[in-house]
Symmetry: C4
Subunit: 101 residues, 4 copies
Amino acid sequence: MDDAWAGSIDTIKKAKIACNFAMPSGETGKLSVPGSPLYVIEHADDGQITFPGGLPIVDKEGMLIGPIGVSGDTVENDHLAAQAGVNVAGVCDVPKHPWRS
Amino acid sequence: MDDAWAGSIDTIKKAKIACNFAMPSGETGKLSVPGSPLYVIEHADDGQITFPGGLPIVDKEGMLIGPIGVSGDTVENDHLAAQAGVNVAGVCDVPKHPWRS
Amino acid sequence: MDDAWAGSIDTIKKAKIACNFAMPSGETGKLSVPGSPLYVIEHADDGQITFPGGLPIVDKEGMLIGPIGVSGDTVENDHLAAQAGVNVAGVCDVPKHPWRS
Amino acid sequence: MDDAWAGSIDTIKKAKIACNFAMPSGETGKLSVPGSPLYVIEHADDGQITFPGGLPIVDKEGMLIGPIGVSGDTVENDHLAAQAGVNVAGVCDVPKHPWRS
């Protein structure tokens, strides 16, 4: 994206955590603040980014087929752009699972 | 574990910190929030994970023989699964020590 | 700078984040505390420093031409020294942008 | 130290930050919590540890000649042991400086 922040090249790895845990990166971020269950999860997997803009893509069979990550604007706008991308290919939510909470 | 999060491959290194400090990973996590004695310990040893699911295994002689780490469900369930594993081989608590606090 | 902290060699990479996001490093730091939009951005780009002392340099055409970073004193003084450097070559603020928030 | 935590091998790098900034590691830690001037300084210099147990050693001429780091017990005891080591060789405080705050 022209005129995006140079730093966005790497923060786009928010897509990685969206795929790793099948949830929007911003949701993981809410769970990673001090006192929350996933505090410091950013230290795993060579550094993860947990602010909004990364989303999982789930196809019609309920399979997680990959993530999308957008970076370069406010995190709210990044999230909206990522959501638009997901809508083309599927949804964000994995189906209910017999044992996964 | 089928259908576990892909990201769990690396968060399972919570076992490392359980062995490193002979205490459940979640206990270390309580000590690593801002203002607590071990704040930022996650930056040591190439990145440590301090949420529940990692447990030390101590044998009948009171020797720390290794850790167990479980990841892929909620941290509460990960902890329970790890505890079940420990129960097969020993306990989690190291014996009292003459000088270690 | 004679008698500066040895550790300043690396904290000077606060210049990197000033260039990456075209804002003073201290501003990024305010956005990276728990609960703020860029929480944990320090984990991106091989480790970023978000306290004051790093500033972007914007030329007369409004182009971000690079950053300046100062480290070795208090963060307030580091910031002042960096600002003096910027004043020689340009300003810190990028111009308004049609879509960037 | 026999029966010290295995994880102490790496947390002893608290000595590094004591030397880097010529102050006790625990003092740096107080400055690195969210909202404080050196928030996230742990991300510099390949990971720094900022809890107590690292101390600078300053000789009779006021020169910082190196650090000492102790790890393996509570952070309070680690600090006391490090202080005992410093007392053999010098003091912890660098002299007043014409421009360094």
